[in-house]
């Protein structure tokens, strides 16, 4: 394909490629998340499949120009199916020396660096802890460096608009975006429309001019050896949107409540990276959604349990430290056997840990983090879009089995975006809710013989007045009981009830070989592990991939499945939590591969580990 400048001259030839990873990096104040988001939306609208990885510091505004303040946004887009945000970017946009220094080591050899040379003064280098200028000291020789006077060019582009220096400088991210739009043949209109609705008069015009100027600059100055074209992916026909895990979780909960015909109640306390679920549900008042921003995490779950008693589809969302605070109330949820969903958007821990980074280290607390014998079903979402379906499944099981359900997502899924094909709402089955209403037959702790669920009896129902609470309940009547045999019986029933959920789950499903090495994963590592197993198999390794959606109970057939493999590898973004559970549950030699750097697995890391393990066998 050829690119035509306004005067009609052919300026360059586009090279067709099918897979690109771009990373935008700058100061927290440089608008990198916004820039990445715009690139993502435009790219999605252009028909590529994609995955994103926003990576930002915990501080809202760390000192400008420092390594601590570097904010990044990685987009992987392709003409094929995309499962991960990509191991290594081939293009890096670096707005200052700190962004360059922090990110260049991730770049592919020979990769392209678009760098803002206006920010490389002695003071700027010092702020980034650099002793020499990487643009001059040869340290970038392995890359193609495209030096751009981003600040000055942007200033010139918006000159006539009367903005002060600082305001003009703020537009430089759009200049950079415009350059990348030319580089990958993206249309400007989507971002142009967005700018018009988002900014007030002089700023909208300034950003529009910066965007166009960046595009024209790349086009006319022939900065790049070639422009690229990434043809659309062959996506399944349908209506698509970009969706983050948090958006999908919120929508899933909304749809689940509608399918159950009950109001949705959310009790929540702000916490990174879960707050967006609260923000989004707070905008759904038109569906009767009640969001309650509680005074703390404990109040959030307590109000949730109160609302569950009152007949709502009740959910609370949090992250690790919040889940720890909710533990006692969750124990009550288990003993009073009311339906509710607790969403844990996992982040690096313990304590405040790495609040903006991803991790899978809450599996143990989700499975075991309560006093007493208090089993809870646990489900984990595997992609941003899957958060929608996982949320619906969680509500369905909570209502059917009258139990709290823990839904695990993570920072990577929550903030990462991917194109999502809209489900057909009519195809999502109803969630049957049967409320007790017959005083003649009602016993608060009488159970459904199939599910062992007790009845859901809502205050306000005539004739069903009864008491529930934290004290052990007598089987059937629900009266307070200190009888030793009754406690044994009730504890066993509570465990059996959760175990019976397995009857509702899909049987184990392995992708790949039915012998050799079995790679077992759960949650947000799905894409990376599936890609790695696919690559390893193409390279001749005999291996299969089991991805677990439910962590409690496990689907049926796990022990039989494990027996067919020589080795088991469990890659996790924690110190081996699922591996430990598998070892103790199935007495198998599950080997843990753990990574706890606040970042997802790279496909290449996983392939290497698979190959090491199989070559040693």
């Amino acid at each position: 394909m050829q690119d035509v400048a306004q005067d009609g001259a052919v300026v360059s030839t586009r090279q067709i490629i099918d897979d690109v990873v771009v990373r935008f990096a700058g100061d927290s104040g440089d608008g990198m998340q916004l820039t990445g988001d715009q690139f993502t939306r435009t790219t999605a609208a252009q028909g590529n499949d994609l995955a994103t990885f926003p990576d930002y510091p915990a501080e809202i505004r760390a000192p400008a120009g420092t390594l601590a303040g570097v904010s990044g946004f990685q987009v992987h887009f392709s003409s094929h199916h995309v499962r991960t945000p990509g191991d290594q970017p081939s293009v890096l946009v670096a707005m200052n020396p700190a962004a360059l220094a922090a990110n260049v080591k991730d770049l592919k050899t020979g990769g392209l660096i678009i760098v803002n040379t206006d920010k490389f003064g002695a003071r700027d280098l010092e702020k980034a802890d650099l002793t020499s200028n990487p643009l001059e000291d040869g340290s970038l020789d392995a890359y193609q460096v495209v030096p751009v006077q981003l600040s000055n060019l942007t200033k010139a582009a918006v000159q006539e608009l009367g903005l002060n220096t600082k305001e003009a400088d703020r537009c430089k991210n759009f200049f950079a975006l415009g350059m990348t739009y030319w580089l990958f043949d993206r249309a400007l209109d989507w971002t142009q429309n967005w700018i018009r609705t988002k900014f007030k008069a002089p700023y909208a015009e300034a950003n529009l001019r910066a965007l166009q100027a960046g595009y024209n600059y790349a086009l006319t100055v022939e900065l790049f050896h070639a422009g690229y074209e990434v043809p659309p992916a062959a996506l399944k026909p349908g209506t698509y949107r970009n969706i983050t895990g948090n958006q999908a979780t919120a929508l899933g909960l909304l749809v689940a409540a509608q399918k159950a015909g009950r109001p949705l109640f959310q009790g929540a306390y702000p916490i990174t990276p879960a707050s967006d679920i609260l923000h989004l549900l707070a905008t759904y008042k038109e569906f009767g959604v009640i969001t309650f921003q509680a005074e703390d995490e404990i109040a959030a779950i307590s109000a949730t349990i109160g609302a569950a008693w009152g007949g709502a589809i009740a959910i609370t969302s949090t992250s690790g430290p919040g889940l720890a605070l909710k533990g006692e109330a969750l124990g009550l949820g288990v003993i009073v056997e009311l339906p509710m969903v607790v969403v844990d958007v996992q982040r690096g821990g313990p304590s405040t840990g790495l609040p903006t980074k991803t991790e899978q280290s809450d599996l143990f607390i989700a499975l075991y983090g309560r006093h007493g014998d208090a089993p809870n079903p646990v489900i984990a979402a595997q992609t941003p879009g899957d958060c929608f379906h996982a949320a619906i499944d969680a509500v369905r099981i909570a209502v059917k089995y009258m139990t709290p359900v823990l839904l695990l997502t993570d920072g990577y899924l929550a903030n990462g975006a991917a194109p999502w094909r809209l489900p057909d709402l009519d195809e999502i089955p109803e969630i049957p809710v049967s409320l007790a209403d017959d005083p003649e037959t009602f016993h608060p702790y009488e159970r459904d013989p199939d599910t062992l669920a007790r009845p859901w009896a809502i205050p306000g129902t005539p004739g069903l007045e009864h008491r529930i609470g934290g004290l052990e309940k007598a089987d059937g009547s629900g009266n307070v009981s200190y009888d030793p045999d009754n406690h044994q019986k009730m504890t066993e029933i509570r465990r059996q009830k959760i175990a019976r959920i397995a009857q509702d789950l899909d049987p184990v499903d392995v992708e790949g070989d039915s012998g050799g090495l079995l790679v077992v994963s759960w949650g947000g590592t799905f894409g990376a592990v599936r890609s790695a197993v696919t690559q390893a198999r193409l390279a001749g390794t005999r291996c299969g991939h089991l991805h677990l959606r439910w962590l409690n109970p496990f689907p049926r057939g796990m022990a039989e499945l494990f027996a067919g493999y020589d080795q088991i590898l469990v890659p996790e973004l924690n110190m081996g939590q699922l591996a430990t559970v598998l070892r103790s549950t199935f007495l198998v030699d599950a080997k843990s591969y753990s990574k706890v750097q606040g970042k997802p697995f790279k496909v290449s890391e996983l392939v290497a580990r698979i190959q090491t393990m199989t070559s040693q066998a």
Partner: protein, 342 residues
């Protein structure tokens, strides 16, 4: 909602559950249970519309003894449970039973927040100035110097005054009574029920086992006239025995004082109680401790403020009234969908 006509005529026994009451013999909780059951029968509300929510402690066993919907939750968090319940089901008449340990110590945070939000329910705080269920440690309302198992040399914690805390947290209905004040207690329970918003009633409650007689000054027949001023809205704050009448006055230093009443002129100096006067109510919540003044009984403060659940539902109604609202497909599609053709 049920109308008055189809509400059955209830008696106190209709609100007694079949569970054996297990408080210690002589515990003040019995008297309170009896008044609440009596009053519930009188409120004209169908029994299934009552929900009693509690935390943990002796007082919090209360729901088990009421033949209504009841929820015995976890320590200190009853206000949050009750808030969730009211939001999910705003038709219910919700009563929250707590104690000085449950409500002011472990649950202090939730108490202040339910008060500031003004959720429409009644809080009955049984104050016995001790931990009963855990067998006798000093509580957030125990007096300095109190010797208990956990304070063998005397407590050094400065105590809370529950009503002062409640008024500080912007409560809209603040009252006090004592377990054995039958008539006053019933009247207060009814007034609390009528109030739209959070009603807070501190009930001085005798823990005969671990802190017996803590409120003898206020409750013993011979002493109470001297130690309590029973507030009536719009009436002068008089107290004392028939032959030694006293009244509350305000000094130039804005402190409340007491005068002996001998003449009509004396009587004219006595302060008149106005429930809506925040400054006066704030002073009234604090008198009666080592200051030679009587303890205020009755409604100290009562004002109307927006009710939390109503505001929540008003926003929902506003959102639902917008044209095109409630389209689930639209919510799913978001702002920037695109179509991939087959």
């Amino acid at each position: 909602m049920s109308t008055v006509e189809d509400t059955p005529q209830y008696h106190k026994k209709d609100f007694m559950s079949d569970q054996t009451v297990r408080w210690c013999p002589g515990c003040g909780d019995y008297a309170i249970l009896s008044q609440v059951q009596t009053v519930f029968a009188d409120l004209g509300i169908p029994r299934h519309q009552f929900a009693v929510v509690s935390g943990i402690g002796c007082s919090s066993r209360f729901p088990y003894y009421m033949n209504t919907y009841g929820f015995h939750t976890i320590h200190g968090r009853a206000p949050a449970f009750a808030t969730g319940l009211r939001l999910a089901n705003p038709e219910l008449s919700v009563w929250l039973v707590t104690g000085d340990g449950d409500g002011l110590s472990i649950g202090g945070n939730h108490l202040i927040h339910i008060l500031r939000r003004n959720v429409d329910l009644q809080i009955l705080m049984f104050n016995n100035r001790i931990y009963g269920l855990t067998k006798g440690q000093y509580s957030p309302t125990s007096e300095v110097g109190k010797r208990t198992k956990s304070s063998p040399m005397g407590s050094i914690d400065r105590p809370f005054m529950p009503c002062a805390l409640a008024i500080g947290a912007d409560g809209t209905f603040i009252a006090r009574t004592a377990d054995i004040f039958v008539k006053e207690q019933r009247a207060l329970l009814k007034a609390a029920h009528r109030h739209k918003g959070t009603s807070f009633i501190e009930i001085l409650q005798n823990c005969v086992i671990f802190n017996g007689g803590a409120f003898d000054d206020q409750t013993a027949r011979k002493l109470r006239d001297e130690h309590c001023v029973f507030l009536e809205n719009g009436k002068p704050m008089l107290y004392g025995s028939k032959d030694a009448r006293k009244g509350l006055v305000i000094g130039d230093d804005y402190r409340i004082g007491s005068i002996d009443i001998h003449t009509p002129e004396d009587e004219a100096r006595v302060l008149v109680h106005h429930q809506t006067n925040l400054a006066m109510a704030t002073l009234l919540t604090r008198i009666g401790t080592d200051d030679g003044l009587p303890t205020a009984m009755g409604i100290m403060y009562h004002m109307q403020a927006p009710v939390y659940e109503r505001e929540v539902y008003a926003q929902i109604e506003t959102a639902q009234a917008r044209p095109g609202s409630g389209n689930l497909h639209k919510a799913l599609v978001g702002k920037n969908p695109w179509t991939v053709q087959g």
